[in-house]
C-alpha cells in the first residue's frame, strides 16, 4: 500500500508525466472535437477512426514527397474534408443511415491506406521514417519551474489541439454560425422555417469533423512517430467517440473526457514501469485496463445521463 502511494506520489510530482498526459490526450482531442462538430449539427459520425487513419497515412505520404512535415500536416485538412464529404453526402443529401455510412468509411480507409502503401512506398505494412514535426519551446513558459518542464516544450500540434478547443467553443457558443449549428442539430425543421440552410450547416459540421479527425491522425504519425503503420490508430477514433459522448457533445466536456482518458493512460504506463511496485511481469498487462475502467466508472458514477442533440442521427427530409 505504502509503495502504491509512493509510486503515485512519484508520478504526480514528475512534470514529465503531465507532458505525457498531454501527448496521449491530443489525438483523441482532435477527433472528439470533430465528433462534436458533426453531431452538434445532427449527423452521427462513427467514421472518426477511419478519418484518423487516413490523416495519419496521407500526412506521411505528403511529407515523403515534399520533405516538409508542415505541408504533410496541413495537407490532411483537405484530405480529411474530401473523405468525410462522402459521409456528408450520403447522410445529408441521400438521407442514408449514418451509422452504416460511417462504418463503410472506416473500412474504405483501412483498405485504402493498406493498399496504397505498396505503390507509394514499395513496401507493405509500414512506411519508412519520413521525419517529424519538431517540438517547440515556449520562451517564457519553459522557464517556470515544474510547469515549464510539463508544458513548456511540446509538439506545436499539442498547443494547436488545445487552441482548437477554445476555437470550437467560441464558434459554437459565441457566433451566429454556432447558434445555427445547435439549432439544426436540435430541430432542423424549426431552423428551416427561419430560412437557415439546414443542409449547408450540416455539411459544415461534418466537413469540420473530417478536418479535425484527420489532424488527430496526422499527429499520431508525423506528429509523434514519424512513420505510418497499418491500423496504427488502434481504436482511438472510437475512444474519441466515447469521449465526445462522455463530454456531453460539448468541446469543453470533450476536452475533460479526453484529458481523463489521456491521464489514466499515462498513469497506467508510468505505474506499470515503476520500479517501486513489485508486480510480476505477467500481471503487468493488466495496467493497460486502467484507462478503460476509469472511464467506465466515471461515466457510470459521476456523469450518468448525457443528452445528445435531439435530431442527432436523424436525416432531415425536406418536402419538395
Amino acid at each position: 500500500m505504502m509503495r502504491v502511494l509512493l509510486a503515485l506520489w512519484d508520478t504526480f510530482t514528475n512534470p514529465l508525466f503531465y507532458k505525457l498526459t498531454l501527448t496521449a490526450t491530443t489525438p483523441l482531442l482532435f477527433a472528439a472535437l470533430g465528433g462534436v462538430f458533426s453531431e452538434i449539427t445532427g449527423v452521427v459520425n462513427i467514421a472518426l477512426e477511419g478519418i484518423m487513419l487516413l490523416g495519419a497515412f496521407f500526412s506521411v505520404v505528403v511529407t515523403y514527397y515534399t520533405g516538409n512535415v508542415w505541408l504533410g500536416f496541413l495537407s490532411v485538412i483537405p484530405i480529411g474534408v474530401g473523405f468525410v464529404w462522402f459521409h456528408a453526402w450520403a447522410s445529408i443529401k441521400w438521407r442514408g443511415n449514418q451509422v452504416v455510412s460511417g462504418s463503410a468509411l472506416i473500412l474504405i480507409a483501412q483498405g485504402l491506406t493498406g493498399f496504397l502503401m505498396e505503390p507509394i512506398f514499395g513496401q507493405p505494412g509500414q512506411t519508412p521514417y519520413v521525419g517529424r514535426i519538431p517540438e517547440v519551446t515556449v520562451p517564457g513558459l519553459s522557464k517556470i519551474p515544474f510547469l515549464g518542464e510539463a508544458i513548456g516544450t511540446q509538439s506545436p500540434i499539442v498547443y494547436l489541439a488545445f487552441a482548437l478547443v477554445l476555437f470550437a467553443w467560441v464558434l459554437i457558443y459565441k457566433t451566429p454560425l454556432g447558434l445555427r449549428m445547435r439549432a439544426v442539430g436540435e430541430n432542423p425543421e424549426a431552423a428551416d422555417t427561419l430560412g437557415v440552410n439546414v443542409f449547408a450547416i450540416r455539411y459544415f459540421g461534418v466537413l469540420m469533423s473530417g478536418a479535425l479527425a484527420a489532424m488527430g491522425g496526422a499527429f499520431l504519425s508525423i506528429g509523434e512517430v514519424g512513420n505510418f503503420r497499418e491500423l496504427m490508430t488502434g481504436g482511438r477514433g472510437f475512444i474519441a467517440l466515447a469521449a465526445m459522448i462522455l463530454g456531453n457533445w460539448n468541446p469543453i466536456g470533450a476536452l475533460l473526457a479526453c484529458l481523463l482518458f489521456g491521464m489514466s493512460e499515462a498513469l497506467a504506463n508510468q505505474l506499470q514501469s515503476s520500479p517501486l511496485l513489485h508486480v510480476p511481469a505477467t500481471a503487468k498487462p493488466l495496467f493497460n485496463l486502467f484507462p478503460f475502467i476509469v472511464t467506465l466508472v466515471v461515466v457510470a458514477g459521476l456523469v450518468g445521463k448525457t443528452r445528445p442533440p435531439a435530431a442527432d442521427g436523424i436525416p432531415y427530409e425536406k418536402e419538395e
Binding site: 512519484d10 514528475n14 514529465l16 508525466f17 505525457l20 501527448t23 496521449a24 489525438p27 502503401m117 513496401q123 507493405p124 505494412g125 509500414q126 521514417y129 517529424r132 517540438e135 516544450t153 499520431l220 509523434e224 512517430v225 514519424g226 512513420n227 503503420r229 497499418e230 491500423l231 496504427m232 488502434g234 493512460e265 499515462a266 504506463n269 508510468q270 506499470q272 514501469s273 515503476s274 520500479p275 511481469a281 505477467t282 503487468k284 498487462p285 495496467f287 493497460n288
Partner: protein, 335 residues
Amino acid sequence: TDVGGLGDKSFNDGTWAGIQRAVKELNIEAKVIQSYEQSDYIPNLSKAAEEADLVFAVGFMMTDALFRVARQYPKTLFVGIDITPPKGQTFPNVLTFTFKEQECAFLVGYLAAAMTKTGTVGFVGGIPIPPVERFRYGFEAGVKTYNTLYRKNVKVLRGYTQDFEDPKKGKDLAMSQFNQGADIVFHASGACGNGVIEAARERFSALTKSSNLVDFINYYLENNRGFFAIGVDMDQDYMAPGAVLASAMKRVDTASYLAVTWAYEGTFKGGHMVLGIAEAGVGISPMKYTKGIVPNRVIAELVYLEKLMKEGTLKVPETQEELDAFKVPTIRFPF
C-alpha cells in the same frame, strides 16, 4: 502470413525475405497469401497446399491450422516459423522453427547494463507471448550478469503495450520509462517499437538540439549522456542512427532460406528446430552507427559471451523459473 501481414518488419517480412533470396538463387516461384483473420488460416493454407510443393505458415497463431492442414496434405511440405509443435504432433512433412531469442537478448541486456549512465534500463514488451518473454528473460539475465560481474545495481523497468501495431503506444510507454530514469530501452513489441525508437530519438535530440548521427555521437562523447533504444527482430539500427544502440536480431530469413534450399535439394526432414547463436539463428546487430561509443572492452566481452553461448557453457534462461533461478556463472574474461 498471419493477420499481422507483410510489412511487420518481423517474422512475416523476414520469412518472405529468406524465401525471396532462395527464389532468386534457385529460380523457383513463390507467392504470398495474407490472412485477415483467424478463420482464414485453414482455407488459405489448404489452397496453398493444393497449389504449391512447399508451404510456409508464419507466426505462432497459425499453429493449430498448420497441423490440421498438414495432416490432410501429406505430400506437401510445410514449414512453420515461430511455431512449436503441439505434444506428440510430428509429421514427416512438417518442419518447424523457433528461436532462442533469449540469447541475443542476453547480449543486448549486458550491453545496456554496461552502457547506462543512470543505472536504469527499460524493457517494452508487446503482448507477453513466449517469444517476447524470452527476449525479456535474456535481457534481464544479461543485466544481472553485468551487475554481478561488476558489482553494479542496474535496474530494469518493465512494461507491456499489450499490442503489436500501435507505435504511439510504444512511444508513450518508452517515454514513461525515460521519465523514470531509464536511458536505454529495449523493445520487443513489433510495430510499437517504432514508437520506442522515436522516443529515444526525441529525448536524445532534446539534448543535442539536432537529430543527426554526428551530433548524437559527439554529444555522447562530450557529455557522457544520451538516450537509446535497442531494436528487435531485424537490424533496426538504421531506423534512428545513433539513437538505436543495437538490435537483438532473430534471423527468420535464415530459417526460411534453409527450408527452401532443403526442400529443393530433397534433404527436407520433418521435425522441430530451435535456432540460437550457435546456428546463427539469432544475434546482435553489428552496431553500424554506435560501435564508436561502446568501449572496446565491452565489445570484447560481448564477443566472449557469444562464444560461451556457442560452446554451451553459458546457458541463458528460457523461462521465468529459469530466470528466477539464474545464477550468474563465474565468467573470467581472458583480458
